[in-house]
């Protein structure tokens, strides 16, 4: 018997993305120049939240520069650029702390999903408006009784004359109160015990009568997520996204898009920047910790870039994305506590460091929940290993 057999191993490696070329670095420069002009006027707290800060005007100015829907076909308002070019724009937004919440979800998953599964009419009417930063989307997956076990969705869509009638409740829907559309997962047949069978996705205009949106205040005092109640709201027949009953496999591929991006390790980045400013070069405990974080960041970035390159080649990224998300959120979640260990300042909000530290500390527990919990991701990876 051979001593080792790496080649047949079930979990594939993440190959390095090719080095970013001259033209991509030029794009980075352009983005930096734009951000240096548009971002410093926001408060340190807004910048700390970055893709959790919402500003339609900012998103429209991004759209005007061609930096939303970058990889989509030109006929739908896209710019036919590479997944690595898009990656560079995203990481620059996060590093600067740009308030990107109004277009983040649509650019990352709703748009690509419509591009892949939507009708021609949907693609023509919706995608160009996302790409100019006009339309904003939210994700309607979780419900009061349905979290990790997403396949047991209870909200229902029923065929009625000329459309679909929606009933049930979606919960924790980030930015639903600000968004134009939701892509929602509903049961179109069977019951919640049928699990992944009988689920379908819909593109739902949130201004439809019969939809009530109630904002739920987060522990840090921010109004980000919502409860969305559907009381027999009737949407158009052509709102069905993809195949009736094909919702589960669509959701699985959507989650892969949601899990590997730079927002999965850069959510605490602004805090790190503030902390470096406050650090003493002679304090070896602090410099050692910062050096470890630097190494971790460089590595996570290469992993995340590698997955972006895989996406560009149309490869299956499910497991690789789960790996990046679990390692990435563990890193970004550790930062506020590490900064506390380094400086131990009271969170009185008397300077930028402690203001940013308070915001980041309060957001951090959610990092390993949103987009699939740590336990769910590890089970996903473990299952693949032991198949």
């Amino acid at each position: 018997m051979r001593f080792y057999c790496a080649k047949n191993f079930p979990v594939k490696v993440i190959a390095l993305a090719p080095p970013l070329g001259e033209d991509i670095e030029q794009l980075r420069k352009d983005v930096r120049t734009f951000l240096a002009e548009h971002v410093p006027q926001y408060s340190a707290e807004i910048r700390a939240a970055s893709w959790m800060s919402y500003d339609r005007a900012f998103s429209r100015s991004m759209g005007a520069r061609g930096w939303i829907g970058m990889t989509w076909p030109k006929q739908y308002g896209g710019h036919e650029r590479s997944s690595l070019e898009r990656y560079v724009v995203l990481e620059e937004l996060l590093a600067a702390g740009a308030p990107s919440g109004a277009h983040w979800v649509a650019d990352r998953q709703s748009g690509p999903l419509i591009l892949r599964c939507g009708t021609e009419e949907m693609k023509q009417s919706i995608l160009p408006r996302i790409a100019c930063g006009e339309l904003t989307f939210c994700i309607g997956m979780s419900e009061p009784e349905v979290g990790s076990d997403l396949a047991s969705v209870q909200a229902r869509a029923e065929r009625v004359a000329g459309g679909w009638k929606l009933s049930g409740t979606k919960l924790w829907t980030t930015f639903a109160h600000q968004a134009d559309y939701m892509i929602g997962l509903f049961r179109t047949s069977g019951t919640s015990t049928d699990k992944h069978k009988g689920l379908s996705q819909f593109v739902i205009d949130l201004h439809t009568p019969g939809i009530e949106i109630r904002t739920i205040r987060e522990l840090g005092g921010h109004d980000n997520f919502n409860e969305v109640v559907f009381r027999d709201a009737v949407i158009r027949e052509d709102s069905l996204l993809g195949d009736e009953g094909g919702g589960w496999s669509q959701v699985v591929s959507e989650l892969a898009l949601e899990r590997s991006g730079p927002e999965r390790y850069l959510s605490s980045f602004r805090l790190l920047v503030e902390a470096i400013g406050a650090a003493d070069r002679g304090d070896s405990r602090v410099t050692t910790e910062l050096g470890i974080m630097y190494a971790e960041l460089v590595t996570l970035r290469q992993m995340s870039l590698g997955v972006a390159a895989m996406l560009g080649e149309g490869k299956d990224t499910g497991i690789a994305a789960a790996v990046v998300k679990d390692l990435g959120v563990t890193f970004e979640q550790r930062i506020p506590h590490a900064i506390h260990d380094m400086f131990g300042r009271e969170l009185l909000g008397t300077d930028d460091l402690t203001r940013v530290q308070a915001v980041t500390t309060e957001m951090a527990p959610g990092f390993s929940l949103r987009g699939g919990t740590r336990e769910i991701l590890r089970s996903l990876i473990g299952r693949e290993l032991l198949r």
Binding site: F3, Y4, V273, I292, Y294, Q302, R383, L386
Partner: protein, 334 residues
């Protein structure tokens, strides 16, 4: 050409190391037997003279898959050391002598060069001697030196060389494009690659064990507590691999790149986590000398401290980060 050559190298290196290195090779090497047949095959494949223009004329980039394959197999030979030594000699305009070579991690006191990997097995050693104005690359013939045998926790030779009484056989100035700590940097780089390979070995062995071993009537891998540990191990393996592959590419074009430190830190962290999980999953059987898990775990505990530990590199990188300030942090990462 590079990509093709790399794929070809990967294929044949994998074939060579997976068929030539087995449990007996490793046990014999730990007992002090030089794996003559393995080294001969490695030499015949041209792996020890990769950078020789007249032969393969390869670059660091093309060499990566060979070292990666040797690392996954835990090949008990100074191949990485020979590669670094041969390359350094070439850079300094000195001809590479035949046979296994090694490098001197710290040559600040030539009477007491400690922790030299495979010192007694190598025929020549290459050191970079720091000087007031410039550093020099020197080539020692080991037979001329006093060798005091030593070993690391994995029973790999880590010897002390004394060159006080005998000078080098060749010496030349260190080229200006190479940093004075070039040996430490490339040493850290190859140890990071080796660590990624050893972590991979632990993962493979642990997954296999989790499928075979049963308790309470079920394979232990079916317990979530175990499968989550294996998931973490997978993440660490991928992180160590990506960090070291990335650093390899960076150092191939710039020997001064701090990516060597990044890789050494990240692979070193993975080493701590992977050895803990590997042993936890294997439980008592993994604690025995008879089982093969320790070939990877003992090497990891040794390698993570060689050519600069995580904290050594982290302090260095962290001091740079603070000196450059928060405003430059992001551009230093990209």
């Amino acid at each position: 050409m590079t990509a093709e050559l790399q794929a070809l190298f990967a294929e044949s290196a994998h074939e060579l190391f997976s068929s030539e290195v087995d449990e007996n090779t490793l046990r014999a090497a730990e007992g002090g037997t030089w794996p003559r047949a393995l080294w001969k095959h490695v030499e015949e494949s041209g792996y020890t003279t990769l950078f020789d223009d007249d032969e393969l004329g390869a670059t660091w980039n093309e060499a990566y898959p060979i070292i990666a394959a040797a690392s996954e197999a835990l090949a008990p030979i100074p191949l990485a050391e020979t590669l670094i030594a041969g390359w350094l000699l070439r850079q300094a305009g000195i001809e590479q002598p035949p046979g296994p070579l090694t490098i001197v991690p710290d040559a600040s006191d030539v009477a007491h060069m400690q922790g030299v990997p495979w010192g007694r097995a190598a025929e020549h050693a290459v050191a970079v001697i720091p000087g007031a104005l410039e550093s020099s690359v020197v080539l020692y013939r080991i037979a001329h030196l006093r060798v005091t045998p030593g070993k690391n926790a994995a029973d790999e030779p880590r010897d002390t060389l004394d060159a006080a009484a005998a000078g080098p056989v060749k010496s030349a100035a260190l080229p200006g494009n190479l940093p004075a700590d070039v040996v430490q940097r490339f040493g850290a780089l190859v140890r990071a690659v080796q660590m990624a390979g050893a972590v991979n070995r632990i993962l493979e062995q642990s997954v296999r064990f989790a499928k075979e071993r049963e308790q309470f009537g079920k394979q232990i891998g079916s317990y979530q507590a175990i499968s989550h540990q294996l998931a973490i191990l997978t993440e660490e393996k991928i992180a160590a691999e990506v960090a070291s592959a990335y650093a390899w590419r960076e150092l191939a074009s710039d020997a001064k790149s701090n990516a060597a430190g990044v890789a050494k830190i990240r692979a070193g962290r993975a080493a701590g986590i992977a050895t803990t999980i590997g042993h936890a999953v294997h439980a008592a059987i993994g604690m025995t000398r008879e089982h093969t898990l320790h070939f990877a775990t003992r090497r990891l505990w040794s390698w993570r401290a060689e050519f600069g530990s995580e904290s050594h590199w982290a302090r260095k990188l962290g001091e740079d980060v603070v000196a450059r300030g928060g405003a430059n942090f992001w551009s230093d990462i990209t």
